[in-house]
């Protein structure tokens, strides 16, 4: 048994003229809440897409526990317990809230090709439990497109939890939210992940969000992991400060704000 929930070894990805991943290595322990940060173009999304099977790396390997999952298609990864969300809120707008969750639960149970059964009412308790878990119990018949942005994010989380994932990948989970919603939103994820023992890897631009929940932070810069460590270490790292200079008054200020907020919440 591997000591890691996810291990990334020597990943490379080259796009026309840009080395988007340049020997990326990561090792994430089970139950960890790992943030991946870095300026725009650092290669966060590329790394995410390679881990979740949406992009094939040029070189290198990705291990999920002991299993080499390099280059496996996304739908197979979902079945073995890896779930992801997208930077831009990504739901089935044409389906009802309940159908969104049902699609995922049916898929997990390998029922997506069942033509003789009926989907109405299928796995209804499981679906309702998921909607309850993320705080959307009364909206199941609504069209998903009609939900508020915050509720769509919750729905997206419910769908991502439908396969009882061991690893959850969140690409900018608070993008597009009002600043005051962001911390509450990531805390909800954090609390659910702790409760269910899920390992989480997330990318995030908002440093307050990062410092509020991350156990370990990996800083990506020009396709490489520049530094990695506990939040305090990252905050005080001179290289990181150099990259983030000017952004929201620097990384240290953001970290301080996050700590203050944590203190008030606690």
């Amino acid at each position: 048994m591997s000591d890691y929930a996810l291990r990334v070894r020597g990943l490379y990805k080259h796009f026309a003229g840009v080395q988007a991943a340049d020997d990326v290595n990561l090792a994430v322990k089970p139950g960890e809440f790992r943030a991946i940060i870095g300026p725009n173009g650092a290669g966060k999304s590329t790394l995410f897409n390679m881990i979740s099977g949406f992009l094939k790396p040029d070189r290198g390997q990705v291990f999920f526990a002991d299993e080499d999952i390099t280059g496996q298609p996304p739908y197979r990864l979902f079945r073995i317990g890896i779930s992801r969300t997208f930077q831009i809120t990504n739901i089935f707008g044409d389906l009802s809230v309940l159908e969104n969750v049902q699609s995922a639960v049916l898929s997990k149970n390998r029922r997506s090709l069942a033509i003789f059964a009926q989907s109405r009412g299928a796995y209804i308790d499981e679906c309702r439990a998921l909607l309850h878990l993320v705080g959307l119990p009364d909206l199941e018949r609504r069209s998903a497109a009609e939900l508020s942005h915050g509720d769509q994010k919750r729905l997206e989380l419910a769908v991502a939890l439908a396969n009882k994932p061991r690893l959850l990948l969140l690409d900018e989970p608070t993008a597009g939210m009002a600043p005051q919603e962001r911390i509450a939103s990531i805390r909800l994820v954090h609390q659910i992940a702790r409760q269910l023992g899920i390992t989480v890897i997330f990318t995030e631009h908002d440093m307050q969000v990062v410092f509020a929940v991350a156990d370990i932070i990996s800083v990506l810069h020009q396709g490489k992991v520049l530094v990695e460590g506990k939040p305090e270490r990252i905050r005080d790292d001179p290289d990181v400060q150099k990259i983030y200079l000017g952004e929201q008054g620097g990384i240290a200020a953001a970290a301080a704000r996050a700590e203050k907020k944590t203190a008030t919440v606690a």
């Binding site: 197979r76 089935f92 159908e99 090709l113 033509i115 003789f116 989907s119």
Partner: protein, 302 residues
């Protein structure tokens, strides 16, 4: 639920009695409506549920009709096994053609299906011995009482009703939901474990199966098979019917098919420029009712 059941019972009763006062001509029109309704609903499994605009869907209608025609007229099989073989042959070809087509999406998917239709057209129109070339096949023998217009009517009614019921169940199955999900959002579908290509392929095979049934029934009704059914102009027929009725409800293409057949019949009787008038009418309906006839009335209702 009770209303739906009552409505269905009433509809079946009306349809069962309908031929009694009607002439053979109008019975034939009703049969054509039913056949086309099945054709349009099958097509809409791809367009409305799957978001796949198959320009070349007539391939499978034609394959169904030619299977019946060749087996019966040329090879002397009984009608029953020939009719049963039609959807099987159509879906068998769809399994192969679909394998290539579902790898593409949007207009490219549509054009590849169309290319296969042109291929099928070329094969049938060039082979006089087997398929009668540009004459098609005529003189299908349907024995006994079934061979009368009323007989054909009741056989078509029973088969179409059964097929529509099966298609409705498939539409509301987990498979139907996954098909709608991938139409709504492909990447999200992949992320939740749906094998999108396989879903689309299965939809393609199932839809073609029922198009094959519909083609065979049309062959029965006219006792002929026409190469026109595979002509490039034939591609528009299921598209027009589905969009006319509305693609977002199961019943939409049924309504679309009925309206299409009525318009065609009535206007053909009035003028030789029927296709021009039909074109103008269809443009009018589509502009006034962008969600189809069913979508239009649902919105007004709500």
């Amino acid at each position: 639920m009770i209303r739906t059941v009552a409505g269905a019972v009433l509809l079946v009763a009306v349809l069962a009695c309908a031929p009694l006062p009607l002439s053979d001509f109008w019975i034939f029109v009703l049969v054509q409506m039913m056949d086309y309704a099945l054709y349009a609903v099958a097509f809409n499994l791809l367009l409305g549920y799957g978001g796949m605009l198959a320009f070349g869907f007539a391939t499978f209608f034609g394959l169904g009709a030619y299977t019946l025609g060749i087996l019966q007229v040329r090879l002397g099989f009984d009608v029953v096994p020939a009719v049963l073989a039609a959807p099987l042959v159509a879906s068998l070809f769809a399994a192969v053609i679909g394998y290539f087509c579902v790898r593409l999406s949007g207009i490219y998917f549509g054009m590849l299906t169309f290319a296969f239709q042109m291929l099928a057209y070329a094969v049938f129109i060039k082979s006089y011995d087997l398929a009668g070339g540009d004459d098609g096949l005529h003189g299908l023998v349907v024995p006994g009482i079934v061979g009368t217009p009323r007989g054909i009517y009741y056989v078509s009614l029973a088969i179409v009703a059964l097929c529509l019921w099966v298609l409705a169940r498939i539409g509301s199955s987990p498979f139907g939901l996954a098909l709608r999900a991938q139409r709504s959002n492909v990447n999200k579908s992949l992320a939740i474990g749906i094998n999108v290509k396989l879903e689309k392929w299965l939809a393609f095979v199932i839809a073609s199966f029922f198009a094959g049934v519909s083609g065979a029934l049309s062959g029965l009704a006219t006792q002929s098979v026409f190469p026109d059914w595979l002509d490039w102009r034939a591609s528009a027929v299921p598209i027009v019917m589905a969009i006319l009725g509305g693609t977002q409800r199961f019943i939409g293409p049924v309504i679309g098919a009925c309206v299409y057949v009525v318009l065609q019949t009535v206007i053909t009787g009035m003028t030789e420029y029927w296709s021009m008038i039909m074109g103008v009418l269809i443009i009018g309906i589509v502009v006034l009712m962008p969600n189809g006839i069913v979508g239009f009335f649902r919105l007004r209702h709500e």
